[in-house]
Symmetry: none
Subunit: 224 residues, 2 copies
């Protein structure tokens, strides 16, 4: 299990990043400032740190220096909107990559993956649920020997459901994870995607099905 430390004074960002990473199979730790970050680094087996530049107290550059030099860990820096100067400073401090806010959660995932690969930390983000094998890196689903290429939303949805097989996930939770907190569209949209997923899974397997739990949400059922 790959562990990632998120250091940002903004609790909203902490939450957002943390959720994104966890739903992709990473273990996350959070810190709101450099001191907290260091105490987490001392205790836990962190593999990579995501660090915000602007923080009260010790700033992100300084923390980056500490993380890279004293702990030998890769760092991804979060910088405010398009300040070239910041980028330079960041790199000078030994950052492995940076990402400019506001950013797509997906983008962050890619960068993390790329950096980990560079560091030779094996990072196979694949998860299995019964016959299903879901490869998050490649957006690929395998059932037995056959591959399934799914549209993005359907893939995200399936991956989410498969991350906790045989367990109900509420409609709200699913929508929030796949569409984001700000989704204001028709809630029926979820139904349609579920329906399409069922259509795709049905011909390939009968041991993995999506069950409706009325008034609550959906559950990926795996029969052994």
């Amino acid at each position: 299990m790959t562990s990632i430390l998120i250091t940002d004074d903004d609790p909203y960002i902490r939450k957002l990043v943390s959720r994104t990473l966890e739903s992709s199979g990473y273990e996350t730790y959070r810190a709101s400032n450099a001191d907290e970050a260091i105490s987490v680094l001392d205790k836990s087996g962190i593999d990579l740190a995501v660090v915000d530049v602007m923080m009260p107290g010790t700033d992100g550059y300084t923390l980056t220096k500490i993380v890279t030099e004293d702990y030998g860990l890769p760092v991804i820096l979060l910088t405010a909107k398009g300040e070239l100067h910041d980028k330079e400073q960041g790199y000078r401090a030994g950052t492995d990559d940076y990402i400019v806010k506001p950013f797509e959660p997906k983008e962050l995932l890619f960068r993390i993956e790329a950096v980990l690969r560079r560091y030779d930390k094996p990072n196979v983000q694949s998860l299995a649920a019964g016959e299903l094998v879901i490869d998050r890196n490649n957006y690929d689903v395998r059932i037995g020997t056959s591959h399934l290429m799914l549209p993005l939303k359907e893939f995200d949805l399936l991956a989410l459901l498969a991350s906790t097989p045989n367990r109900v996930l509420s409609r709200d939770h699913l929508i929030e994870q796949v569409w984001g907190l700000e989704f204001e569209g028709d809630e029926r949209t979820l139904n349609v995607h579920i329906k399409r997923l069922r259509e795709r899974l049905a011909p390939l397997t009968h041991s993995v099905t999506i069950q409706t739990v009325r008034g609550v949400g959906y559950r990926l059922e795996v029969n052994g």
Copy 2:
């Protein structure tokens, strides 16, 4: 044992760097100019070169080009204090990293480690993906018995895709790796190069194709 070549006309710097590296377990060679550097490169099994920009005679950029292109080795460039122009030139010459004088010895060590790690995989001079055999040193692509001469960008792109076959690379990642961080051009440029690559690959093989993953990026698919 990893061997590092230090090229700088300033004997003080040579000594400083050399000591730092040796005390960290590297074997070091020294050269005071480009000609010396080349003769060392020819004789010894150097793994990485640290090169100063400002040198009498052949300058650091030119030497960097020689080292990367003819010897296929990573280079870390030493530049004088904060000249942005220098950095650009350095990167354009194929540097893997640069460091601004004056620098912390630790900083240099970290960069060297990072670069060497990074070179673990791509440094395999010829890299195979299915029928494809890509020779990074000669910019040559072989498919079965036939050779392919590709324009630089197309080659870079293909080599990058082939370095992780059957794995999706995001559009951003591809652009960043092939064009560099500062690329601000039309993102559609990538499409065109992908298209041209496909046109070239199609008549030669059917077992290696470039797949589009909508909303994400591209993947070099190898069918066995």
